[in-house]
Symmetry: C2
Subunit: 502 residues, 2 copies
């Protein structure tokens, strides 16, 4: 069987640019996993691990122009956005190097023996150990920060797990470039290059999740693809943890008091957030509950004006562009749905942003479930409610989300907005993060950040952003009554490495 070629495609023209790789066969996936598994012991050296992560960041920075050019050529996201994304990516690698050095993630707990206790207590020393080879499935919409050198890879390596990355077909050349930089960084840090291995191909991704030596997986992508891999991970003879971020509608609720106070500001803000990056953010606000009546009309007019002024944009690939055009057409054709700004195909290879509107009672009564499914791209659905009860009825039908946003009266009027507290309570079970009077796009990397949420936002209770993302690739392990010379230095008497311990 001839190897299937992997082409890098220009989304601005739809034309293939160059063949950059071939799809991995089942045997090649097996070799890739075995290669990564064979070198897992090398990552036990935390000093080398931290040096590796920092060197990887340095090499990415040094190759900045080349990396951004490669990513832009395959994603059309533009150099400004990609420059920021690369900075975020290298900052993330360095932050995980600091996490490795600091060692708190090892969560060391030591119980000294107490022969006088009844029953006598043994010497027990607990820490966390890496799970093994991690499979990383990369995202289309972040060719760097959620791809080969992204958060899943960085956190898995920081945990001491070798990584086999399944490249996203939207940016195979960028993936090859980044993987070669990571592998070079490994060697510079004294580690084998196979601590990071790259494979291409849909079938390769399926083989990967089934491989007996794969111990966990990280995924960022669609509900359909993510659920299929989640199911495969759980159907294995030995199931493995699958940390997936699959999809999110990111609902927004506007109280009557909020639109009475700031209809134009909210409309303009929403237009900016939902069209940012051609609406291709996982936190794009895709569903808005706004009141009927004059204030709500003013909000919708401002949203409409802002979206109308948005230039048509190139989406990440033509398959997504087709899915967006078909998805908005299907939604717009639903009974009672109208289009204040019709979204759809723009000029050559672009899409134009748009807004769909519907009466909330259509959704409250159980119709139009499609409007509660994420439509990837620059569109949002405005559901106009006539009563407080309709809001609750609609919210009760929503799936899980990364974020939920509440706009209430602000300033001196904030305390008087009686809808605020009960609505916040209703939004809490629906999301991993709630925002008040803000917009969900732009996920700050900060200690208090949580990027996750109820299914399908995430398949686990973990975060995929921030320092605690490392916890996904570790398991607790206890040594009982083990002589000093057989313990890892991290757990020996006298704390020779000066680690945080309890």
């Amino acid at each position: 069987m001839a190897a299937e070629p992997v082409w890098s495609v220009d989304p601005r023209t739809g034309k293939p640019r160059e063949q950059v790789a071939v799809e991995a066969t089942a045997d090649e996936v097996d070799l890739a996993v075995r290669a990564a598994h064979a070198v897992r012991g090398s990552l036990a050296d935390r000093t080398a691990r931290a040096a590796f992560l920092r060197t990887a960041a340095d090499l990415l920075d040094e190759a900045r122009e080349h990396v951004i050019e490669a990513a832009d050529a395959e994603s059309a996201l533009g150099p400004v956005r990609l420059t920021g994304e690369l900075a975020r990516t290298t900052a993330q690698l360095r932050a995980f190097a600091d996490v490795v050095d600091e060692g708190a993630f090892l969560d060391i707990r030591i119980d000294l023996p107490d022969p006088a206790a009844t029953p006598p207590r043994s010497d027990m020393r607990r820490w966390k150990i890496p799970l093994g080879v991690v499979a990383v499935y990369t995202a289309s919409n972040f060719p760097l920060a959620f791809s080969v050198p992204g958060g899943d890879t960085a956190s898995a390596l920081a945990a001491g797990c070798p990584v086999v990355v399944k490249a996203h077909p939207d940016h195979p050349a960028t993936s090859e470039l980044c993987a070669s930089l990571l592998r070079r960084a490994a060697v510079k840090a004294g580690l084998p290059e196979d601590v990071v291995v790259l494979v291409h191909g849909f079938d390769a991704g399926v083989e990967l999740i089934r491989h007996p030596l794969v111990a966990a997986a990280g995924f960022t992508g669609s509900v359909r693809g993510g659920r299929a891999l989640f199911d495969a991970a759980n159907a294995r003879p030995v199931p493995i943890p699958f940390h997936g971020e699959l999809g999110s509608l990111n609902p927004v609720v506007l109280t009557p008091a909020a639109v009475a106070q700031r209809a134009e500001e909210i409309g303009a803000g929403l237009a900016g957030s939902m069209t940012l990056g051609a609406g291709q953010f996982c936190t794009k606000p895709g569903f808005v509950l706004a009141p009927e009546g004059e204030d709500g009309d003013r909000f919708l007019a401002a949203l409409t004006a802002g979206v109308s002024e948005t230039e048509p944009a190139v989406m990440l690939d033509h398959r997504m562009r087709d899915a967006f055009v078909a998805g908005v057409a299907e939604r717009a054709a639903l009974d009672g749905v109208h289009s204040p700004v019709t979204p759809g195909a723009g000029g050559a290879h672009t899409v134009s942003a748009g807004v769909l509107a519907v009466a909330a009672d259509r959704i409250a009564s159980g119709d139009h479930h499609l409007l509660l499914e994420e439509c990837f791209g620059p569109v949002t659905v405005v559901a106009r409610y006539g009563s407080r009860a309709e809001i609750s009825e609609v919210l009760s039908r929503l799936p899980g989300n990364l974020t939920a946003t509440l706009h209430i009266a602000d300033g001196d009027a904030a305390d008087a907005d009686e809808d605020a507290a009960p609505l916040l309570a209703e939004l809490t079970p629906l999301a991993g993060r709630v925002l008040v009077n803000g917009w969900p796009t732009g996920v700050a990397v900060a200690p208090a950040q949580h990027h996750g949420g109820p299914y399908p936002a995430a398949t686990s209770t973990s975060t995929s952003v921030g320092a605690t993302a490392i916890e996904r690739w570790l398991r607790p392990f206890t040594y009982q009554s083990t002589p000093q010379h057989l313990l890892p230095p991290e757990l020996r008497d006298g704390n020779p490495l000066g680690l945080p311990r309890r």
Copy 2:
């Protein structure tokens, strides 16, 4: 359809004692889950939650004689063991009350806003919130500590999750008694009694895992039952976390130096550990790699002697007794397996402990996989190895375990046992806890304890024993830019509740 009766059965006679309940229909399971879900908000009050857990411990202590009598009548575990188990259970409830009061489990992280940063940083406040209704599937072999008032229930309630417990058919009367005490304790602490609801019946357990309002599940039991529920939890439209402890072989490796030094002591120690509680502990050492030759023979003789002296014992129920008798017969009939002490049916309603022995190369070559499956009850399999390579070959075929035990030379000879370090490294991927020169039965509740391990020992990386068991029932949640009056007091400026925060 008539309701199926639930009988309490005396394992010492096999005779029904009394009808204590009826099996829950699908509608009744739905009502049970809805009742628990309806009162979930009441558990938000951490003071009441802690008081409830302490009151539950007090009521169990007050009813001590009655509880132990009920548990003994259904389990035949005897009042001494059950007195200890009850003490452990109430200590666990009180320990989780302390965890609730202390509040570190909320894992609060606060990022204050920084308008001067580029981009400006928002106010973000993260903590952990309860998942919702937790389904608890109780264990046969711990009618208290891993049942209605046990660790899963205590940790879920401590997390703020109402609990629907599926009673184990081996102790329905004990379950009813404990559930009534827990419900009475809730009311005494000012909470609705439905924060704990009990259901009986196999079909009810299946309905429970599929219920849309069940948010997570805890399970302690067999691989077959646990895997079926794990699969059902993952096949739901909205999958839920399933924390199961399914089965464990608990391998033991004896180095040549260990048996040269302490063959008799090790043999006697193993005989005690494997027959403790009629071999019905999840950490029973069920598989032993011992060297061929004279020292190994001395070990086997000591083990044989110890096991031979063990009195026949009543198992938890007659189904288990039958499974044990059939399981050991099937194993003993394998080619090359002999029985230094033949295990099997004892006198009326009892079983006798025994030892099976086989050459390790039979297993190393891939035969006799059955010997690597847990056989619940007082039996262990001794595999005699002829070479160091055989040990590695056999270990590579082992499933995941709660524990792995290594016996090496001790005292001044310890450093000279060259097998120790590499064997410890080979055992690490196979277990959640390794012990050196000890025995795995008796799981101390201590901060450094880890009770879990690679599948099938556990279906997740969590522990089911100890304070961190609470983490299974929580998820991180972030408030962004949320006004003070809308934040829970735990997250407000000035830390009004004095909680640990970062």
